[in-house]
Each structure stands twice: as C-alpha cells, then as structure tokens.
C-alpha cells in the first residue's frame, strides 16, 4: 500500500507523490516510516530525507534544515525550514560554504557563543547538503536506517 508524501517549506512545495517508504532525521533519532505507521508528530533536525517513490526504484534524497513532520497511516507531511532535492544542490557552493565555516570554527570567536552557534549551524547545513548531493545516483542496500558515513566522501 503506498502512502502520500509531501515535503513543503514556508516558501514552496518541494515534493509531492506516492511513496513506499520515507526515512526522516528526527531530533530523537533517525526514523524509517512505512505505510500504516501510527500517527506521530515529531521535530526534525538537520539531515537528509530519503524517499522511495512507488513509481520508480530510484531513491530520492533531500537535504532539510530542521522543522517538523506529521505522520498518519496513509500520509506523511514534512514541514521543513529548508529543503532541497539532491539535484538542486550546487556542490561547489556547498563545499565552499563548508570550507568557510570550518575556517571560522578554527579561528574561533569563543567570546560570542551566539555567533559560534551560527557558524556551527551553517557548517552542519553545508555538510548535509554535500552529503545529500553526493548521493545522486548512489544506491544503498539498507534504505534509510543509517546515518550518513562521512569517510567515504573524503577521498
């Protein structure tokens, strides 16, 4: 039985379609959702959303920057603060953003915790975008249950 999945942000609808399963980056841990899941409301952290649509074997990856999601037996709606499909991500820009943020982190501005948190958040965002973007065309044996492995990208 397929279920309806929508990913929307405050600005636009990013994805809408019938899916076989969805994996979400919940703040309490990653969760895989199959049809007939019990009703659930959850907050989401930075991370990737993986979707297996009914009409293709190709998994879809989205980078999201926090938000929340509602799960019902036949329906999932992800309300993300930001969401991008893997193909939309400009890998070069994301890499640059990460390098910039890492540079900031090294130089450090410890006297200003808010600024530090900001930089840390932007580093995390950049990292997620890079990971998701690299997934283009990749397939995984176990869908959606593991956290992204950073090592494989560092070559």
């Amino acid at each position: 039985m397929p279920m309806q999945c929508d990913i929307v942000t405050q600005e636009r609808s990013v994805f809408s379609g019938q899916v076989k399963s969805v994996s979400l980056p919940g703040t309490e841990g990653r969760m895989g959702i199959l049809p007939n899941h019990s009703a659930l409301l959850t907050t989401l952290g930075y991370g990737e959303v993986m979707i297996r649509p009914t009409d293709s074997d190709q998994e879809l990856y989205f980078a999201i920057g926090g938000g929340f999601a509602e799960v019902q037996p036949d329906k999932i709606i992800v309300l993300a603060d930001s969401a991008e499909h893997a193909d939309e991500i400009d890998l070069v820009r994301a890499e640059q953003a990460r390098a910039r943020a890492e540079q900031f982190m090294k130089e450090g501005v410890p006297e200003d915790p808010e600024r530090y948190a900001q930089i840390q958040a932007s580093l995390r965002r950049a990292q997620i975008r890079i990971d998701v973007s690299r997934r283009r065309g990749h397939r995984r044996a176990m869908p959606g249950m593991s956290v992204p492995e950073y090592e494989e990208h560092n070559n």
């Binding site: 942000t9 600005e11 009703a39 409301l41 929340f68 509602e70």
Partner: protein, 302 residues
C-alpha cells in the same frame, strides 16, 4: 500664448514620460502577480502548521500550562507594530493609506507603541510624525525569501518574550485583486489559534477544516510542549512573510494602477497640446499671410 516650437517641445517630453510610465505599469503588473504567486505557495505549509498548532494547543498539559507565545496577558502595558510599506513612491495613495490606517489604530490603543518599519516610506513618515521607531528594514529584494523576514520575526518575538511588549500587531495592505486592496491591522502575538478571524493573513488558513483535529491522537516526539516550541515561532515568522508578500503584491498593483492613470493622463495632455500647437501654427501662418497681403497692399497703394 505659447509658440509652436514651445508646444512641440512639451508634447515630445510628455510622450517620453508616458513611455516611461507605461513601461513601469507593465513591470509592476508582472511583479504583482509574481508576489501573489509566491504567497499562494505558502498555503500548504500554513494550512498544515495551523492544523498541528490547533491539535497541540488543545492537548492536556499544554494548553493549561500555556506556551508563552499563546498566552494572552492580562495587563497590556505596551505594544509593537510592524508597519509594512514600500521603499519607493509612485504608487498612488498606497503608502499614505496604510500609514494613516496604522495611525488611526495606534491612537485608539492608548499605550506606548514601538514601531518596526519595513520600507523606507513608512519609516520616514512615522519618524516625521514623532512615533517611536525602534527598528527599520528596507531594501528588501523584489521576491523576498523567508530568510529576509527571519530577523524581523525574531526581533518582535524576543521583545514579546522578554516582556518589552505585551502585544504585537502587523499593519499591511491586503491584496484583493489588481485594482483593489485593503489596508489591514492584525494581531501577531500572542497567537490565538482558535480565533483565526483576528489572525494576520488568515485567508491562507481559513479553509482548513479543524473538525476533529483536537481529538486526533498522535504520539509526540519529543513531547507536545517541545513541538509547540518549534512550531509557534515558525508560524509567526510565516505570518510576517505572508504579510510582506501581500503588501508587495498590493504595492506593485497600486503602482500599476497609478502608472496606467499617468499614461492615460499623458495621452490626454498630448491631445490637448496638439490642438493648441495646431492652433498656434495656424495663427502664425495667418499672421504671415496678413503680413504679405498687408505688404502687397502697401506697395500697390504707393
């Protein structure tokens, strides 16, 4: 009476101006519809967030303890008003209408109000009239992203949470269609999920069917209170964003109407002046003929 040459110059310059105004009208029309499309795209998020908000607010243990952003304070000592105007003029009465609506609203409040001005025109008008403008945002892009309003929403939310203000309002111009718009003042904080008539930009949640929403049973991760902490500020931010986009659509449509009127007026003026010019030309020809005839008659007489 002006000479033919003077009239020619005036006609030429009016024609030039009317070209500029008609171009501006065309640009504004497309910008207005773009802003309208942009705000339409927020409907899905707004509707769902509103539904969840209502469910959470009615959960036992959440509604009773009360999220600070949802709690109506008994003693209202001061308020904040986000006033959304344009950066530029040439939009007919658009800017003055919203400012005077806001002024009327403020004079009925009888408490000190902190003004957060979005748009140069509103800022200047409010400063000149002696209001307490605490923050001003201008130069927002033509199609703003949610990130452009984040600091604005954060500013008022922080002021509300730390007790600087007890109520937050937003004054914006509601876009109805390309020729009509309505200056509106709505309450932003505290958010009253059950009273969406009084809510800012309620048209995007008005169609949400809330029957049974509060009875819907969810498991909450991490918990209803924490979820509310995530959703309420985002909802407020979205309302500011929607208000801004509505105001932008209104501004551009107002400018389109004003520029169309200007183009029409220029056309009329050109017609009148062309008539004048023809008269002037005719008069000068008549004078010349008179001179020649008079000269010839004088010679014949001699």
């Amino acid at each position: 009476m002006a000479t033919e040459r003077e009239l020619n110059n005036r006609i030429k310059s009016i024609k030039n101006i009317s070209q500029v105004t008609s171009a501006l009208a065309a640009v504004s029309a497309s910008k207005a519809s773009k802003a309208q499309k942009q705000v339409e795209a927020t409907r899905a998020y707004a509707g769902k967030a509103f539904e969840i908000l209502n469910n959470l607010a009615s959960q036992p243990g959440v509604g009773s303890t009360g999220h600070p952003l949802l709690t109506v304070r008994s003693d209202i000592k001061s308020a904040a008003l986000i006033l959304i105007t344009g950066d530029r003029g040439l939009a007919g009465a658009y800017n003055t209408n919203i400012v005077s609506t806001a002024e009327k609203f403020l004079s009925a409040l009888h408490i000190p109000v902190r003004i957060i001005a979005i748009g140069r025109k509103g800022r200047d008008l409010m400063v000149r009239r002696g209001y307490n403008v605490v923050a001003a945002f201008d130069g927002l892009p033509d199609s703003p992203s949610i990130l452009d309003v984040t600091p604005i929403a954060k500013l008022v939310t922080d002021d509300y949470l730390n007790g600087t203000v007890d109520e937050v309002f937003v004054a914006y111009t509601d876009f109805i269609n390309l020729i009509s718009r309505r200056p509106t003042v709505k309450q932003l904080l505290p958010l009253k999920p059950l009273d969406f008539e009084g809510m800012a930009v309620s048209e995007y949640v008005a169609s949400v069917d809330l029957t049974g929403v509060s009875e819907r049973v969810y498991s909450y991760e991490p918990g209803p209170a924490e979820l509310l902490d995530v959703i309420v500020p985002r909802f407020t931010q979205l309302q500011v964003y929607q208000s801004l986009l509505e105001a932008l659509a209104s501004e551009h449509s107002a400018r389109m109407v004003a520029m169309n009127n200007a183009t029409d007026n220029a056309g009329e003026l050109v017609e009148i002046l062309t008539l004048e010019r023809n008269k002037a030309r005719q008069a000068s020809i008549t004078n010349e003929i008179l001179d020649i005839v008079g000269g010839a008659a004088a010679l014949a007489d001699g």
